[in-house]
Amino acid sequence: MSEDKKDQLITINVDGKDYEVPPGMNLIQAVEKYAQKEIPHYCYHEKLSVAGNCRMCLVEMGTPMRDRATGEPILDDNGVQKIGWMPKPAIACNSNTSPGLHIKTDSPLVKDCRNGIMEFLLVNHPLDCPICDQAGECRLQEFATEYGRGYSRFIEDKNVKPKRTRLGPRVTLDDERCILCSRCIRFSQEIAKDDVLGFVDRGSYSTLSCYPGKELANNYSLNTVDICPVGALTDTDFRFKMRVWFLKQAKSICTESSVGVNTVVWAREGKIYRITPRQNDGVNDTWMSDSGRRLYNLVESEMRLLAAKFKKDVVTTEKAIEKAVDILKGAKFGIVGNTQSSVEEMAGIQSLAKSHGAPVMFVGHIQEGDDLLISKDATPNTRGALLTGLTKALPYRQRDVVGRNLKKGEMKTLVVFNEDLIEAGVDKSLLEQVDIIYVGSQQNATSEMAKVVIPSQVVFEKAGSFVNQNFRLQKFEACIPAPQGVKSDAAIITSLRAGLGDEDASSSLAKIWESLSSDVKEFEDLSYSRIPDEGVQLDGSRFDQLNYIETGSLHYEAQPELAETA
């Protein structure tokens, strides 16, 4: 690891083998990262405070012995410093690495501890696996298989606790399955800062519940479902919809705001069932907003455009593109871009605009930020538009560019990418004076007015990349196939350009990146396949003078001037 300076490393011994690790690192993490061994744990979570209440992570620990009086190392017969093993096992989650630390993770005592903990956890655990949404990704199932005894010695009646409790609008709780790890409580307190969960009663009657009169309703509530190691907290929307082992995972980026939260999209047979966060310590840690998880509704929304239209008549996509080309050939046209588009699509739009002298305009989208993982910029790729040169100003700092440009009366046609100009406040009478070619996935007032409508894919159906508020370039994969006849924006732009006689038109990501890396300084030496899963930090200093709207978020600091005035 490049960031660990060699001279600072210390040596610890795990199961008789020495490993070089950084000092003061959490033991569970150090063992996982450097010794490639998992210390089973429930309550410990990398991004939360340590509670140490599940006791699953017990290991044997020892430190090099020293004489109490003199501080001299005590040596054995071979001249090696003796290890003073602690008489009882200790929890790894609340220990840090220290020089010479010895631990045993698979001694008979440790195995016995895990076996005992598992038995206690399962004593009152219901036989719910067949109806439990966690099955297949349940730590309790996994560790019971690995460390449990395999049969139950408990013949008494199991505890009865509330089942199917509604904790909030999106979370359902089954208390019988809860193993009282308190991860959800710590998350609510420490990350969501919405302290609504707590334990009531004692001993085996301990029960998780919401404080009276409160509910788990904050926009980050579903993270508790993700971190719950068992099936106690479930997503009300995903509940009983599909077993996780059928779902295929694809890496994606959330388009909710310019934070660019890393996500995993879970789909089966072309249908998306859920979206969960993907860990990225430079962007979203392990969290994401509830609202971002619902964006897959775009795929099957009622407003989804599925058929191409010419003058309101349904035509094939090819035909619509042909018609669009005919319209564009004749007259001067303008382009309304969108900061929802990927870097690759923007590159295509940029080439189209350049070779035909078309002005590119934008409409700004701002929203309430929450200073955590939703920023005020409601689109994922504003920085991409700056880098590709599609715009010089920030869209949300400009006033009615489209309207002002239309008033000049030079443009006869407007190519609109996924943008509702009516909603953005552009004068309807101005729009009526031009032919609109609408390329987008959703129907809206603008697409209704358009002469040619070309349906396009939503973010889950195509691959590409976004540049987030930190100028971090992140890529997303296609998660599901697109409906028949619905093409990607990149393919549509390419067809338009080819129709207009541009020779270098190509929608292949590799080709687009070839020109991007030569045209844009910040993209030098990059290609699509070279963008790692966690993204690439770009240098955004070229745009430092712009007045970004974002205030802080988890890993973003607001511009200094802005923070003062805000």
């Binding site: 219901p126 036989l127 696996c129 067949p130 109806i131 099955a135 009646d157 199991k158 505890n159 009865v160 089942k163 199917r164 009663d201 009657y205 509940r239 009983f240 919809k241 599909m242 077993r243 082992w245 059928f246």
Partner: protein, 175 residues
Amino acid sequence: MERKPLTLAEKTYMPQIVSGLGITFKNMFRKKVTMEYPEVKPPIPEGYRGQPALVKDPDGREKCVSCQLCEFVCPPKAISIIPGSIPEDSEHANVEKAPEEFDIDMLRCIYCGLCEEVCPEEAIFLQDNYSINGLSREELVFNKEKLYDIGGVREDEHFKWKKKKEAEVSGNPHH
């Protein structure tokens, strides 16, 4: 090769006909080894693997909870399930989950019995019927209703959910 000339008796063919008829009459009065399928059907041994079907417990509760393990394990992917939830006002609301749709494509099924083996709720069993026919492919995709018709009611050793419900009603005193 030189052939032996036939004797007189052989020339008449009579002894051969008589001995042949003898065999015929002897077998006419023996126990029959063939059967008149399909009017008569052979006895099916215990544990025979015929068409799979869903069963209900003696209380009439559909035992399948749509855990989809059979769908996962089925080698030819003959099973397809759409899971659903049991409404809160049902008497079996505590089971929470039941299939909304449950289809088995009998043309795909290879009668391997893995679905029966994997089912944690003892809800699917291979029956003794081996003759499954129809006039179209669609007809041979059996839906939930049809599968319950075929499977019928089966005895239950555990009554897991019933006991669970009773425990929920009586609760366990805790203060």
